[in-house]
């Protein structure tokens, strides 16, 4: 039982870190990437009335952040259910 728990914890933490890495990379790419570092090439692309780089910096990054948090919340909730780390409803 003890060793099962240890294994479950290890899987949980490994999966958690994997998701943090994936979502953290997207977080970096849409904000500091598209919004700051690569803004000039992206500004060459016009979408409606927006230069794309400008749009990422003033709107796109923020929308993506919201999606990232809800995706993380969802995958973690599923992981917790699968490994038996689910909290009772308070």
């Amino acid at each position: 039982m003890e060793s099962n728990d240890v294994t479950a914890r290890q899987i949980y933490w490994r999966e958690n870190r994997r998701w943090m890495l994936i979502l953290g990379t997207i977080w970096f790419v849409v904000s500091l990437g598209c919004g700051v570092l690569w803004v000039e090439p992206l500004n060459q692309i016009q979408v409606g009335g927006f230069k794309l780089g400008f749009w990422f910096a003033q709107q796109g990054a923020i929308y993506t952040f919201i999606v990232l948090i809800f995706v993380y919340a969802r995958v973690m909730a599923r992981l917790e259910k699968r490994l038996g780390f689910e909290e009772p409803e308070a």
Binding site: W13, Q59, I62, Y63, F70, Y72, A73, M76, E80
Partner: protein, 572 residues
């Protein structure tokens, strides 16, 4: 009804609502006072967090900061920085501190680093960040009152203090949470209504976020028109003007992001939800509610800027005459937020980027939001609503900060360090007294703002980023970091950041004591003082990790604590 009467009515009604909520939500235990009994629904906590987060600066100044001071694109650092931090908070900080399950941020640092010294250093860092921040809110309350209700600054400040005193001392976190939810509704309504109208008038599009990318009546894109108009006036292009350098923008954005994730008054909001799972979704909801304002603000910035320019110069070369300037223009001149000087004596107002010929000599950032309803010729009740919204933003943030300060004093200093023997009832009394003291202290600083109050809210982020954030992150993700590492790391991080700010802005912001001068050529790699928090954070990480290698590892019980906060519950 006159505008002033309408404003008194709307603001008075909003205050009556806050007091009503306060009476119904008194705190009966320390758990209720510090963390609202941990029973707040994640969506409700998301709203409260959004109000806690969006300060007078977000509401009144941010659109102007983007649209005027930072000339468009440069202002994106605030938009990305003040929202991106929530991703870090949701993934790296909030769930684990919620699992830890106690009352304050210094409490976690003290327990994780098995040291009262660490606890006290964290309390000091918390107080430095939060006090810097709260002074701005108190000033915001006084200014909002004096502008809209025509009271003097002191009367305004006292009225605000009485309201906060009432619900924060009585209800602690519980009272603050419910009033923050009401304040969020007031402030978001007040912000979006004028924005929708101005977007409709300029682009025919009711959603400002889409309106920003739409066409004007003459079929040119709004942003294209603004770019061209600004170039003609001698400014840089709106959509591409960088603040400093790319490196400076990246550092500024990163500092605001990690500062957000390290600000105690935001973190403790996530202690009020029932589960770890709820802490994650609640961060998502908080960002949804924040994003409503943060994606509207850049639209307001561009539209209001264009509106003002077109008021002054309806057709290229055709300038507004001073005689014929509209009533709202004269009104805002009286407050000192707008100012004209007819330098060439032709009776016309010429707006230009060249300081020698520019005749719109004062154009305050706040004008973009404050004068918006009048420029768009909206009815009195909308203007009154903006007043109530600005006050709601300032009051809700002030209350959250005051709770972070007072709980650090009554819980961390008193209960956990100095007088561990006191009973819960005594601690609850102490926490009310600490709150009362914090309100009075903040009021005093609002009345007599020290020099460093000018150092702005942005500084608080640099300080949080360089002191508390690394200690929290390492405390969760490393079992090896020791008390010596954490304490020296926090001191080094906040020390380096303060030293950099002081050397450019003056010691304690006293003019004349800055030994390097506030000049861009003297900035380290071109990074401005407000953006230096990320460098302080790197120093903090470096010192913490190095010192931890050289000192005895943490005891087994601490390693067990770290193991425990990483999972929501023991496996069933």
């Amino acid at each position: 009804m006159s505008l002033t009467e309408t404003t008194y009515l709307v603001v008075g009604a909003s205050f009556a609502l806050y007091i009503l909520i306060a009476i119904r939500s008194g705190a009966g235990s320390t758990q209720e006072f510090y963390v609202a009994g941990k029973g707040i629904h994640p969506v409700a906590n998301g709203m409260a967090t959004a109000a806690d987060w969006m300060s007078a600066a977000s509401f009144i100044s941010m659109a102007g900061l983007i649209g005027l001071s930072y000339n468009g694109y440069g202002g994106s650092v605030f938009l990305m920085g003040w929202t991106g931090g929530y991703v870090i908070l949701a993934m790296l900080i909030a769930p684990y501190l919620r699992k830890y399950g106690k009352f304050t941020v210094p409490e976690f640092i003290g327990d994780r680093y098995y040291s009262d010294t660490a606890r006290v250093v964290a309390v000091i860092c918390l107080i430095i960040c939060s006090v810097t921040y709260v002074i701005g809110q108190m000033k915001g309350i006084g200014v909002a009152f004096s502008r809209f209700l025509e009271t003097d600054y002191e009367t305004g400040l006292f009225s605000g203090m009485v309201i906060v005193f009432f619900y924060a001392v009585l209800g602690g976190m519980k009272g603050i949470t419910y009033t923050q939810i009401a304040q969020f509704c007031v402030l978001i309504f007040a912000y979006t209504v004028p924005a929708i109208f101005i977007s409709l008038q300029l682009t025919g599009q009711p959603v400002p976020q889409i309106g920003l990318g739409s066409t004007l009546a003459d079929d040119t894109y709004l942003l294209e028109k603004l770019d061209r108009t600004l170039l003609d006036l001698g400014f840089q292009e709106y959509t591409t003007s960088v603040r400093g350098s790319t490196l400076n923008m990246a550092a500024f954005t990163a500092s605001l992001m990690i500062g957000t994730a390290g600000l105690p008054h935001v973190i403790i909001r996530f202690f009020t939800v029932p589960t770890v799972r709820a802490a994650r979704t609640s961060a998502g909801w908080a960002l949804v509610f924040i994003a409503i304002l943060y994606t509207t603000a850049p639209a307001v910035a561009a539209m209001a800027r264009l509106n003002i320019i077109q008021t002054l110069e309806p057709q290229p070369g055709q300038h507004l005459s001073i005689e014929e300037r509209p009533a709202w223009f004269k009104n805002w001149e009286q407050t000192g937020l707008l100012g004209i000087e007819d330098k060439n004596g032709d009776g016309l107002i010429q707006y230009s980027a060249d300081p020698d010929t520019n005749e719109l000599v004062t154009l305050d950032n706040d004008i973009l939001v404050l004068a918006n309803p009048e420029i768009a010729k909206l009815p009195h009740w909308v203007i009154a609503l903006v007043a109530a919204g600005g006050l709601a933003a300032a009051l809700s943030t002030a209350a959250g900060l005051l709770l972070a300060i007072s709980s650090a004093i009554s819980h961390d200093l008193l209960k956990r360090t100095l007088m561990p023997g006191i009973s819960e009832r005594q601690e609850l009394m102490a926490s009310r007294l600490a709150m009362a003291g914090a309100v009075l202290g903040a009021g005093y600083l609002g009345l007599n703002p020290p020099g460093f109050a000018a150092g702005t809210v942005a500084l608080a982020f640099g300080l949080a980023a360089s002191s508390l954030f690394p200690a929290l992150l390492l405390g969760i993700f490393s079992k090896r970091v020791t008390r010596e590492g954490a304490v020296l790391g926090m001191l080094a991080g906040i020390g380096v950041t303060l030293a950099y700010v002081f050397q450019h802005k003056g010691i304690m912001f006293i003019p004349g004591t800055s030994f390097l001068g506030d000049l861009p050529p003297n900035w380290f790699l071109g990074v401005e003082p407000n953006a230096f928090g990320v460098v302080g954070a790197i120093v903090n990480f470096g010192v913490s990790l190095t010192v931890s290698r050289l000192t005895a590892p943490p005891p087994e019980s601490v390693k067990q604590l770290v193991e425990d906060i990483r999972v929501p519950v023991l496996s069933s």
